[in-house]
């Protein structure tokens, strides 16, 4: 059956973005390469979805260098954590309603 999407966050419609947020809510921060390894995705795919989350101000980005290699750390903002929590709540409510 089709379900209503009114409480669902548009930003989390994509699976990968939801996965990124779930990693960032339980970890203080995570770097780009580790996220890539964990989620088994390509550079470009990951980068574009991280950009989208950054645009919503759901995550913050901290760039630095380790030796000569760029090291980019991502962490969830307060706004992002709240949005993620709401989205999860909506998913759980949905399951409860259907029981």
């Amino acid at each position: 059956m089709k379900i209503s999407l009114e409480h669902f966050d548009k930003a989390f419609e994509n699976r990968l973005r939801l996965q990124i947020m779930s990693v960032l809510t339980v970890n203080e921060s995570y770097d780009f390469n580790s996220l890539k390894d964990l989620l088994h995705v390509t550079d470009g795919n990951l980068a574009s979805h991280l950009k989208a989350l950054e645009k919503e101000v759901y995550i913050s980005v901290f760039k630095s260098f380790v030796g000569r290699k760029p090291n980019t750390q991502y962490s969830a903002t307060q706004k992002g954590k709240e949005a993620f929590k709401k989205h999860l709540q909506a998913l759980e409510n949905l399951i409860r309603q259907q029981k």
Binding site: S22, V23, L91
Partner: protein, 205 residues
């Protein structure tokens, strides 16, 4: 979106949260083997001391270089064998799960356990230099227990209890230093074997 999809989504989120924040490639078998090494080491040390010491009061035997160095080498061998086994089995397990050993969680785990472990190591070296042998068994147990406790946030929760038991044994060894070696053998030997078996049965089958 179908109901089935929602379930799949939720369980994949839960799985990711777990996987990204806890290092679960630690091997229970490594714990069992470390326990066996520790028991073998303690047994060997005990036999050695018994054969050499002339039973003139057990308190001063460690001051003899003839006894001190072999004991020190046994302890070092146990430590090195345990670390090598643990690293080796962990790497194998991580590979078989298709995960990298070196990731943000394992780094955090190493930092959390590293600080108490290095402090404990230095503490024991200083005790050795000062000839305060009574406190060594309890020092090993207490600092190791603290390391496990602080590392348990980044791996299986069971490790927290192992840490607490080691700390309690360490405090007990401080109260009755005469039983230091026995308590050390219980902590590093028997508890490791028990916990390693529990983890192996619980998570690796």
């Amino acid at each position: 979106m179908k109901e089935k999809d929602v379930y799949a989504e939720l369980s994949s989120i839960r799985n990711l949260m777990e996987r990204s924040s806890k290092f679960i490639s630690l091997s229970g078998l490594a714990g069992v083997l470390a326990g066996i090494y520790a028991l073998a080491g303690a047994g060997l040390g005990y036999v050695f001391v018994k054969n050499i010491s002339t039973l003139e009061g057990a308190e001063s035997y460690l001051n003899e270089p003839m006894i001190f160095w072999p004991l020190f080498m046994i302890a070092l061998a146990v430590l090195v064998c345990s670390i090598v086994t643990a690293c080796w089995l962990t790497i194998i397990k991580a590979r078989s799960r298709g995960e990298s050993v070196w990731n943000p969680v394992s780094r955090r785990l190493l930092t959390a356990t590293g600080v108490p472990l290095v402090t404990g190591g230095l503490f024991i070296i200083i005790l050795l230099m000062k000839g305060e042998y009574d406190l060594i068994a309890s020092g090993c147990l207490i600092f190791y227990g603290l390391a496990l406790f602080s590392g348990s946030h980044y791996t299986y929760v069971d490790i927290k209890w192992l840490g607490i038991f080691q700390i309690l044994l360490g405090l007990l060894a401080l109260v009755v230093p005469v039983y230091g070696l026995i308590l050390w053998a219980i902590g590093f030997g028997i508890l490791h074997i028990v916990y390693g078996s529990i983890m192996h049965i619980k998570y690796e089958r």
